[in-house]
Symmetry: C2
Subunit: 203 residues, 2 copies
């Protein structure tokens, strides 16, 4: 069964690439709806869930078990992580799919998905953020800091599920630099690569 | 003009992938002959040239200019590096090509080549080295140490030409993990990716 995960730097267009690859290969596509589903399952606020999963809220193990507020937060974080794991496993068992983000590569490692990582240089990512979200009065330096914070969060969030590091080549099957690349042009080649990779495994 | 460089971990099959991509795209292919050409140009021993380029013999700047043996070695190393740069630039200016190794990505950065990096997990690389070169009585541990030494050399040799690091994603346009991959199966997709990448640049 072909399962593709797409991890990505913020501003790298990884989400668009993932969506188009799903179209090209005829696979289901999951992305932000995972957050909604976790919020529903845990009965927690969607904003809190998104923060845990995307910004890597850290556990405070030193306090764990003590009846102050920290363990309460920790309990909620663990609830989110359990739901995140369960929902991603459920989606993957439903059928072939592309999952963008949410540490799906680490969570599904037993199923041996194809793991892609999408990145770009900082200048390109700042430019894309500006085009996509408008300047909002932010300077390039402020946008850069925001990008770095989000990526740090993604790395930390993934670290809860795997010792293999976010963004390091050993964690991925293909790493794609989208600097100065038009996403729609590379989609057929990336899809063909993924197809060939699964064929090497008899899938 | 399409120039493709292929950097690779030892045992990753990067050389074979580079050769086949050149065939697929109809480009010239340069690899070990660069060493022979440098030896001819510098009138130095081919083994010494290979050591400097592939094993990253370090300069000893503290001694430079002092008339002991170290500066003599340093002079030869610099001769090799100058010839390496000149010959790779000459090859690239002759026409479209694929160059495997020899820090061509760093040397040719002004020409904006497509830079690929090929890697695989250690287990796969040990297995391939064993199949390719025979056991030679070496244990897996000894083969692993040899692989690590060669990769360290490649990283050091490249560091003479660029501050962007060997093996780090920012240095490359596409990073390909060949663990459990049959090279011939992925060649068309990789060639298509490279073709699309150049088209994004109007090349």
């Amino acid at each position: 069964m072909r399962i593709v995960t797409v991890s990505r730097e913020f501003g790298s267009m990884g989400r668009e690439l993932g969506r188009r690859i799903a179209e090209e290969l005829g696979l289901a596509y999951y992305d932000r709806e995972i957050i909604t589903e976790i919020a529903r399952e845990t009965e927690l606020d969607e904003g809190f869930v998104a923060r845990v999963i995307e910004k890597g809220v850290k556990l405070h193990p030193a306090h764990y078990g003590v009846t102050f507020s920290v363990p309460l937060v920790n309990k909620k974080i663990i609830d989110v992580m359990v739901a995140q794991r369960d929902i991603i496993e459920k989606l993957a068992s439903k059928g072939e799919c592309v999952i963008v983000g949410r540490s799906a590569d680490a969570i599904l490692s037993d199923k041996r998905p194809f793991n892609a990582f999408v990145y770009a240089d900082m200048e390109t990512r700042i430019k894309r953020c500006r085009e996509r979200e408008g300047a909002n009065g932010l300077t390039d330096k402020e946008i850069k800091r925001r990008i770095q914070e989000i990526d740090k969060g993604r790395a930390e969030s993934r670290a809860m599920f795997s010792s293999l590091k976010w963004g390091e080549r050993a964690s991925y099957d293909l790493m794609i630099n989208t600097t100065d690349v038009e996403i729609e042009r590379i989609v057929p080649a990336v899809a063909a690569y993924i197809d060939a990779w699964f064929k090497c495994r008899g899938v």
